[in-house]
Symmetry: D2
Subunit: 345 residues, 4 copies
Amino acid sequence: MDRLRCGILGATGIIGQRFVQTLTRHPWFDLVSLYSSRADGKRRYEGTVNWLLGPEVPSSVSDIVLSEYGSILTGRKDVDVVFSALPADTAQKLERKAARKGIHVISNSSCHRMDRDIPLMVPEVNGDHLKLLDGRKDKGILVTNPNCTTVGLVMPLDPIRDLIEGEVHVSSYQAISGAGYPGVASLDIYGNVVPFINGEEEKLIEEPGKIMGSLKGGSIRSSPLKVVPNCARVGVKDGHLVSFSARVEKGTDADDIIKLIGAKKGLKGLPSAPERPLVYRKERDRPRPDLDSFSGDPPGMVVSVGRVRVDDGMLRAFSLVNNTIRGGAGNAVLIAEQCKREGYL
Amino acid sequence: MDRLRCGILGATGIIGQRFVQTLTRHPWFDLVSLYSSRADGKRRYEGTVNWLLGPEVPSSVSDIVLSEYGSILTGRKDVDVVFSALPADTAQKLERKAARKGIHVISNSSCHRMDRDIPLMVPEVNGDHLKLLDGRKDKGILVTNPNCTTVGLVMPLDPIRDLIEGEVHVSSYQAISGAGYPGVASLDIYGNVVPFINGEEEKLIEEPGKIMGSLKGGSIRSSPLKVVPNCARVGVKDGHLVSFSARVEKGTDADDIIKLIGAKKGLKGLPSAPERPLVYRKERDRPRPDLDSFSGDPPGMVVSVGRVRVDDGMLRAFSLVNNTIRGGAGNAVLIAEQCKREGYL
Amino acid sequence: MDRLRCGILGATGIIGQRFVQTLTRHPWFDLVSLYSSRADGKRRYEGTVNWLLGPEVPSSVSDIVLSEYGSILTGRKDVDVVFSALPADTAQKLERKAARKGIHVISNSSCHRMDRDIPLMVPEVNGDHLKLLDGRKDKGILVTNPNCTTVGLVMPLDPIRDLIEGEVHVSSYQAISGAGYPGVASLDIYGNVVPFINGEEEKLIEEPGKIMGSLKGGSIRSSPLKVVPNCARVGVKDGHLVSFSARVEKGTDADDIIKLIGAKKGLKGLPSAPERPLVYRKERDRPRPDLDSFSGDPPGMVVSVGRVRVDDGMLRAFSLVNNTIRGGAGNAVLIAEQCKREGYL
Amino acid sequence: MDRLRCGILGATGIIGQRFVQTLTRHPWFDLVSLYSSRADGKRRYEGTVNWLLGPEVPSSVSDIVLSEYGSILTGRKDVDVVFSALPADTAQKLERKAARKGIHVISNSSCHRMDRDIPLMVPEVNGDHLKLLDGRKDKGILVTNPNCTTVGLVMPLDPIRDLIEGEVHVSSYQAISGAGYPGVASLDIYGNVVPFINGEEEKLIEEPGKIMGSLKGGSIRSSPLKVVPNCARVGVKDGHLVSFSARVEKGTDADDIIKLIGAKKGLKGLPSAPERPLVYRKERDRPRPDLDSFSGDPPGMVVSVGRVRVDDGMLRAFSLVNNTIRGGAGNAVLIAEQCKREGYL
């Protein structure tokens, strides 16, 4: 298989750092370019990035000189694919243009997620949605990654979707890494919970329906799934915990749900795909961010589910997603792998 | 008004300490006895208690020699009323016997809350339930205080109860002080969320219906209100945050809800009753434990509500209760005040 | 006594908020003006300030329209005295000019602390240094408040200064409120310690010598006290803990030290002066930020000391200062009270 | 090389879990027995241990049935070497007996560390102290691992020991994992610092002198190094930060110190020995627990040092040690590897 040259848009942010971490050790992609708003033609990645993922910036990228965002649209094409961790407004101006120029874009930005012609992917859930790309007009593809909490909700709902009746009530316990850096002020969150995350509930209402929708006649018909979300930030570094409850089909019991969740299969042959994307924790107090956020192989790609109960037809459960990996860079790289295998990259 | 001599059962625990804090400055009650499992006939309160509410044990109780639990049942009657913060199993053995002996018991223990002949009180919500006491056989009364999270849910639901249709979906973000001392191990909760609290969800299912039930023919007919709870512990010291959502009557909008909540009146003439027991926070990120846990006068007696939204007939909101004050000792003292004014004490 | 009209420069920051909290209930001063970099001629204090000290902005200031900094130098004199919580560079441009205009300035800013003609005050320690003001050329006085950690160190060293020999080795455990708002990013400090605080160690080296210096011939001769500081930020909201050790005079034992600390007297007749400014905690694990940060009356004005030991002539101890009250606004207001009584205001 | 069968005494505690984590992937040792106070003849490791190091107990040990402590002394010899994470009082009764029986004991317990005939080892610092074992009377060896904070102090002092003059003043910022499980109550440490750790300062006074002592005539002559420690617990999960300051030889500057620290070499050919045991961090705010606690290969075996400054002959610096790995199980396993290569195992 031909290796692909790749770059990262927004490489110094939290999601950008996770992209770096994933791509510096990737068997299919060569990370060659890092784009940042802090580029000035001279700044190297190390020395500019406030690296938060361990003691050292990976040595293979430490000396890369940061490129300005605009440079991706001008001059010769240095990369085959870019992973975007741009803020929505910058992404809006750049991503479609890059695709038009022939650069494939896998984006974690929110701005194009709900566009009718753009797939919003969780590879194990809606792989067939990539066919939306067949009708594209641009030379490069543009594919999007969902909101982090959306992934933590859609993953466990996927195998049980036929059993759900009516609304899914959701409350989130979201990690501070989800707000980027510097993000949440310590004085606001230390020993505290903040019951508001700008724009988050809107995403949780919109995105799951599209991801769980069905492809018909070249477009996606949204699933009727209705989410009723209350989102809050908690003092956790990594891992969004999601509480959800919903009415399920009469006669369904907890074991039915647990079996369906445990039976969900992983994608074969993709480096970032865990063998099983969902793990059911039978312990009474799991999933927990401290123990389950880096679950799976690669670490952080498994969504953990626990405390499934069904009483009087009402399902209650918790799930946990690593917000910057499965809910961010890791899922985006998995999308790229799927696109590559399917021939879109 | 005659002053009453009172005591505290379980005076060294967290709720016990809040009782001490409240009662050492109370205009109606004289705190004269402190009962503890750590009593040995010699130990003073200061020096035994691991006081967690400030730099100093209140001077008026620091020299009180701790009494053994059993002593309340033997010998002469030293107190008119006891406030109980006993663990359920100890309370089970002691509280009814004390009432039989003629000592009035206001209990924060869970063991008698659902007993048919015992009122489970939030004074502003179900004051009329005290009439259950009219038929009692014991010389002393036994009245109970709800679970902390129950109070945080029932208070905002009370004024809007007629608008709620179907289940109320609840997720809690509960403070570590709710687990007592030593309670939660720091290694379990530091930078973490634990999605399980033993027995909590069961209480949230049972208690609200009783509190919001109606007194008919000398007994309480439970409200049909159905709660679907998911409880979790977060790294917060004081203040349980409660996320709730429910279908509301067609045509209801957020302003209707907000008005009803803001209009809820306080009880007059009771020292622990805030002027308004419910406060609606219009800021977009409230209520927050750090800012709202000690709201009201006396501090911690107001339940704060925020983020009320109604979309497609579905209400979403957050409330916040100080778990050891309004959800514990403070509410229990307010019950005693109400009992006193109504002539039961 | 004539009441004085006062204002706060930098009223929306953390120290500014503590000034507001202190001055809205002050018996001598009337808080009439709030100056902020966020002023635009229309903005009110409530609605602009991100109030972090409780559920509500004090009602007496909520409607005050914020003034621009510059306005203090132009137009008519609206205030007799201003309390300054300005950043150093802004203070540099404004404070001396305000004094020249006849406005008295009590400043928490760092820029003039080491100026030869400006007193750097801890009222209980170096009240006589106010005499420096006798030689001033400006119509208004300019007096400064020390760095927060400096106060936590100087207060316990003051009564034992004659026993100290050689360097005082200091390590600090500093609260996040010391960095202002938004200040420290939660991703940097959550579950962490950051062993660096910009400029802090320099202040700890310079300031104690001036405060503990002696006034001779109209200027201050610095004390030879030498501090060897290592400063670190910890995940605490309020209260800087200070570890210190130093050689003490031969024959000194721990009791000698404890007695001297406990014997330190407060200033009489000043509203912000606690009866005793130093409290010795005999418990083996004190002082602790959670229990001792708001010690004293007014709360937060007492410095707590504990764990005094002397072995082989080497003293070890911990002290704790509320960094925004005794180490900030509270100490500054106490300075103003002292100036008022001494006739400088 | 012959593989050795090994066991862990106290396998369910925090240090025990780190031993399990290290030994289940060790190239020289086979982990075959797990001893626990919770053994009852039936309990398996998984299901008994409250595993805190990740989502799953390592599969190779999950089914091991726990053995009682006493069983190591009775019956046939199942293990060649045991790693002990016993509490001091249990270790006192067991460890010497086990050695007498011919089982080699590498112990993290504190009880025998200062015994004259027992080496107290940091392999890169005092490897020659193993010769103490040449004179042993027991069939098995007994070697001890230092206190966690001691390791964090001795490692950076070792290469600069000849430059130090007089006392080393130390303040620690210690992680909660150092107190075991359940250990520190969350109500005591959340958002707090506790300036007391039982027995810690005594160990910091005693142990460094022995480790840095010299072997003469079959016994160790302690180094004259004098430590003046103040120990505190902070809200950090892993990693003890150590602040230290001391007078250094005239003419020494920071670069001299930094060079000596960076030049310290690792041990060759031992699986748990990092290439360089000391890393100097040149960033201005390092070392930090969140970034540096798992530094090195194997992770957690490197001690990080930063902020070295020398002013007026006074050195100031910070170091960071992973308290359960380099300051616990990892160092103990490295000792075993060294013993094996030197022929003592």
